[in-house]
């Protein structure tokens, strides 16, 4: 493992502030970032990630390589929840297994953007359309989760209330904001892009840093829930991302993605959703316990990815000569 990238990643202010948040909770400090401030940061980040993705997409262009990447993304977003569901069913009831599987089939935009920041620092190029892949991978896992519940839960539920499930999966707040901003980025003129730059580029890294301080606070508080859930779930939260990342890197090699895109594709498969999926699961699979799937995605998988995962996957990509 090339300690250099690992260390340079861990010494990035965003990751350092994540540690500060965790430390504050472990030291029982009363440091707190009250609602709706976390909501302000996550809305800003989704808006800017989408908009910048749209702008880069416009510069880029569309070719078969882009299409193949999108197809791979959608397949991953359906395969991961199905495989995860059967593994989780070893120890969990249908509802919780489906909800956690949906979370791990979906993605975390902030993990994605922490990876793009690292790529920029190491000046490794990547394509704008990867943000579109991010948007594509948000929702399918939610539908997969609900279908799995209907298939395996006791049969007394008639069919699936498809309109509501699809609205929950494809029209929840984060997806609408991400996809909407992406489309607006596509339509924006050069002048508009320029006048938005201090907002979308200037303060972006600073707001991301402030947000990761809050994520550290939230993750550390969720840790207490996890201690009660036992080793199996923590194990899944650590292993699933690594396995998913390795598989993603292999697929990337097969499709011939560049180094940057491969890392982003691995991070999408390895990251779990803690905003879009929990919001959807509460309505479609209310029997599942939110503190389980939120804690795993936020307190185990998110820290794993931004501290160790991202540099590790990059290392692996270089090893396999993608």
């Amino acid at each position: 493992m090339d300690i250099g990238t690992l260390l340079s990643n861990a010494l990035n202010p965003p990751v350092l502030f994540f540690f500060l948040g965790v430390a504050a909770v472990l030291l029982k400090s009363d440091l707190e970032i009250p609602q709706p401030l976390p909501k302000l940061f996550s809305l800003y980040l989704l808006l800017v990630i989408g908009f910048k993705g749209g702008v880069e997409l416009r510069h880029g262009g569309f070719n078969t390589q882009v299409l193949i990447t999108f197809i791979a993304a959608i397949i991953a977003a359906i395969a991961v929840p199905i495989v995860s569901f059967y593994i989780l069913r070893l120890k969990l009831d249908v509802f919780n297994a489906a909800a956690i599987a949906a979370a791990y089939g979906s993605v975390s935009a902030v993990t994605f953007v922490t990876a793009t920041e690292l790529l920029q620092q190491l000046s490794i190029p990547y394509d704008g359309y990867m943000v579109a892949a991010l948007a594509l991978m948000e929702s399918p896992a939610i539908v997969a989760g609900v279908v799995l519940v209907r298939l395996y839960a006791n049969k007394q539920e008639k069919g699936i209330n498809w309109p509501e499930v699809l609205r929950e999966a494809f029209l929840n707040g984060s997806v609408v904001l991400l996809v909407g901003s992406l489309l607006i980025g596509l339509l924006a003129t050069e002048a508009a892009e320029k006048s938005l730059e201090p907002f979308t580029k200037g303060i972006f890294y600073g707001v991301l840093t402030f947000f990761l301080l809050d994520m550290g606070l939230l993750a550390a508080r969720r840790l207490k829930d996890l201690t009660r859930t036992g080793p199996f779930l923590i194990g899944f939260g650590l292993l699933a991302p690594l396995v998913n990342a390795v598989l993603a890197i292999l697929i990337a090699k097969v499709i011939g993605m560049g180094e940057g895109n491969a890392l982003l594709f691995a991070v999408l498969c390895a990251s779990a959703s803690y905003i879009a999926v929990p919001a959807a699961m509460r309505l479609s699979v209310p029997e599942a316990n939110p503190s389980l799937y939120v804690s795993m995605a936020l307190a185990v998988t998110f820290p794993l990815n931004i501290i160790v995962g991202i540099p590790l996957y990059l290392q692996l990509i270089r090893l396999l000569g993608v």
Binding site: Q35, R221, P286, V294, L298
Partner: protein, 98 residues
């Protein structure tokens, strides 16, 4: 001057807000009060709001209504409480006629 009414208090997962409002309208309940960002603990565990979404928060609804409106309302309410959890308390009060 005063009329006896029933005070219905409901605390339920905030995700149920729309469903609950629809239910009130179906039961011809024209007056109610809603508090958001309510925290608490119950059978479904701790809801301390500590999250990026309002996944871990409740809502509190207060309804002052006549005695005869209580029965139809709680019959519609029961299936929601059974499926999504939450509590419903009913007490007596006097309504100041103005």
């Amino acid at each position: 001057m005063m009329k006896p009414v029933k005070r219905i208090e409901i605390v339920v997962d905030s995700v149920e807000l729309n469903r609950l409002i629809e239910l009130l309208e179906e039961s011809q309940i024209k007056g109610y009060t809603v508090l958001k960002d309510v925290l608490g603990r119950g059978v479904h565990g701790l809801r301390d709001g500590g999250d990026l979404t309002d996944v871990l928060t409740n809502i509190y609804v207060l309804i002052a209504c006549n005695e005869d409106e209580v029965q139809p309302l709680i019959e519609r309410l029961r299936p929601i409480l059974t499926r999504f959890g939450g509590i419903c308390l009913i007490s007596d009060a006097q309504w100041l006629i103005h």
